[in-house]
Symmetry: C3
Subunit: 308 residues, 3 copies
């Protein structure tokens, strides 16, 4: 049984909640891959409230709903919402509640999904709020690890790039605390180190971690390189950025002979060289595709457990 | 039997047409509320031509179509229509006619829906044209009154706020002329009084009305407070606006002990205090939700009565 | 059997490929016209990557998919794609591949559809790339000719207007080379004559053609007037444009007593007078509507032939 009504933060999950979703996603693979047709959510409607654009997240939620026989309504930017006419977010959410079986919220400010979940009766899914959480991304990351590596317990993973502002690496770190014997290598420039509160969480959950400033020193020790983008806007001085940038780029040559996979939440700019695309190391496109069965599992579970 | 092929103006309706739609909407409630699944309009497509944006209206039409097993296509602003490339509205409408089973039109100019209904063979629904009509809003207002008060004959209703430019209060006044023994209190500042032609219509249809400039004098006499927004742009002098504004705001305190409901076509800015939201008086969110069964009734009836 | 996996250029077609699609489209007419309901593509998803807007093309693809029981996801302008965040077109296409059963691409640069078809496994349809090809438009043009005239062999057709930049007349000329005994009259101002490479193609395929600069001289000889828009931006000197413009406008008077039909890929500005709309000569609206059965035939064939 899956106990949560809303998916707001990965911190609300216990290990069995994560396992329930991963297991369910696995069972929905054939439908996700268009090998089987489903009427599971026929007649059901997902409300998509995207106050900031996110093609990838929005489209995978839509696809998940449509593959299950349901459909979606909504807006893609706050400019096309009624909030642009002066309506409160609360009133907009109440309207969506009247039309939908579940809501997906994307907003630039942390806490908006939680706020909405407090005022509506339908399940609410946080699809990214500011520098906060993006729990369904974390679930599809875990699903990819489980599927490609075969286990999450005993995982050795390097989180690479912008660990300071990167929402996905924060959520993933928290989630790995639910598993046993995980070792995390935190690979970032000084300016973009993992925040103290996440390190604190790792200590609390007995996750072993080590902070390093280069990839070479850990590349032989890990199952997964989880790469994120370093935005030059994060550096006051562009020279500082250009100096360190090269040290966090993955290419085919450095991967040769290694026994690992490369993941990335996408979009990628140049932090993974395109010569990796055609190698066995590339699991970032698979990871993106895994968004569909995982979000199907979430939508099916929440809507079935919470009928209107 | 419902005789109309197009829904252009509430003035085209006779009482039995209104009653047909309200009755049909009532029968579709379980589907609207996602308690039952329908294939009633399976394979049917609604063309949504929104030359000006209206999230609420567009999404409730889409939801209505999708809950009945159909689907929608269209555009949300004139900028994303082919009209922005210089195509005439007539040619755009002919294209939509070829792809759809019915059309919904929203346009800033009065008369556009009527014009389109004259040149296409599929049913046309006016979803608001300028300061003109918005007949499906009126039908969902009447549905809400019928459902919450139990009757429309013998109704005592206060229309509050901007009665001069407010499209919904004009249409609603006309519709109430189809019922018996209705009393309307017209509550507005001097600058925003109900236009003479609507007063003329009320006289013609034997609706009793009374113009007042404050809420207190009538609050004990009515079943419904129908509130609309006063836009400060309507006042030449902002001081005039600020002076009168407070007199047309509804709050929880003034409602206590009264036997009435509060309605509002939404979006609301501040003309209903949010402390009313959690009271039994609040029927404006219910009213918004009622858009779905009422628009389902309209779409089902028009598409079934007028097969391609 | 239809051999092509991707629809990139009409030049990839043999006569039997064209005939297969036209025949299939003909069988799907009842579903396209909403007289029959289909589950043919139930659960299937079309990825719509419109880097430049095209309401008509996008909506007819969506309608085709939905009438067959499937659905679509996508974006309508490059501004709303993740390419606007710096993601490569290749990565965007890989994402869509993961979510969809086939892709439709519209882009301002020639060759983008071909490029994408080389990197994804699902079928790719070119919905117009720059001054290049728009093969599904050509197929619906041929379908309209077949249906209205009864044959494509022995056709006498005038291509009128901007023959230099007009993508549709280039593709159509190439396609007519697959049929027997076709005569093409090329009617354009000097500045906008058919390019040499298309004339070369016509010679290669034994299509007889004749270049003329006015409509009167050929109007009694043809089955079809295929009209395209002359954009004044093509002329350095606006006076030159105004001088020739009138000579390429079709009106009711010049058609009277003739045995022919008028076609146009739309949108039309003023190159066909609106007094032609209500005559038997008008087949341009029918042509637009024919987009649905033809695109249904293409989608059904490609998706069924290439399961994921």
């Amino acid at each position: 049984m899956f106990k949560l009504k809303n998916i707001i933060s990965i911190k609300d999950f216990e290990r069995e909640d994560v396992e329930f979703i991963l297991n369910e996603a696995s069972k929905l693979e054939d439908i996700a891959q268009s090998k089987e047709v489903s009427d599971e959510l026929k007649g059901k409607i997902l409300g998509l409230m995207f106050f900031e654009p996110s093609t990838r997240t929005r489209m995978s939620f839509e696809t998940a709903m449509k593959r299950l026989g349901g459909d979606g309504i909504g807006f893609e930017t706050s400019g096309s919402s009624s909030v642009s006419k002066g309506e409160s977010i609360a009133d907009t959410a109440k309207m969506f509640e009247g039309y939908s079986d579940a809501l997906v919220i994307r907003h630039e400010y942390e806490g908006v999904s939680k706020f909405i979940s407090d005022i509506v009766d339908v399940p609410v899914i946080n699809a990214g709020d500011g520098a906060g959480q993006h729990p369904t991304q974390t679930l599809l990351d875990l699903y990819t690890i489980q599927k490609e590596i075969g286990h999450i317990d005993d995982l050795k993973i390097a989180l690479i790039g912008d660990l300071k502002y990167g929402r996905t690496v924060h959520s993933l770190s928290n989630a790995l605390g639910l598993f046993n014997n995980v070792k995390i290598y935190l690979v970032s420039p000084q300016e973009l180190k993992m925040p103290q509160e996440i390190l604190h969480d790792l200590n609390e959950t007995n996750v072993e971690y080590e902070e390093v400033d280069n990839i070479e020193s850990i590349i032989d020790k890990v199952n997964v390189l989880y790469v994120t983008r370093i935005q030059k806007e994060r550096f006051g001085d562009i020279e500082d950025y250009l100096k360190i940038k090269g040290a966090y780029i993955i290419n085919k040559k450095m991967l040769e002979g290694k026994d690992l996979i490369v993941m990335h939440p996408l979009p990628r700019i140049d932090e993974i060289d395109s010569d990796v695309d055609d190698t066995k190391y590339n699991k970032y496109f698979t990871q993106a595709t895994n968004a569909v069965p995982v979000r199907m599992a979430i939508l099916k579970t929440l809507i079935k457990n919470n009928p209107k």
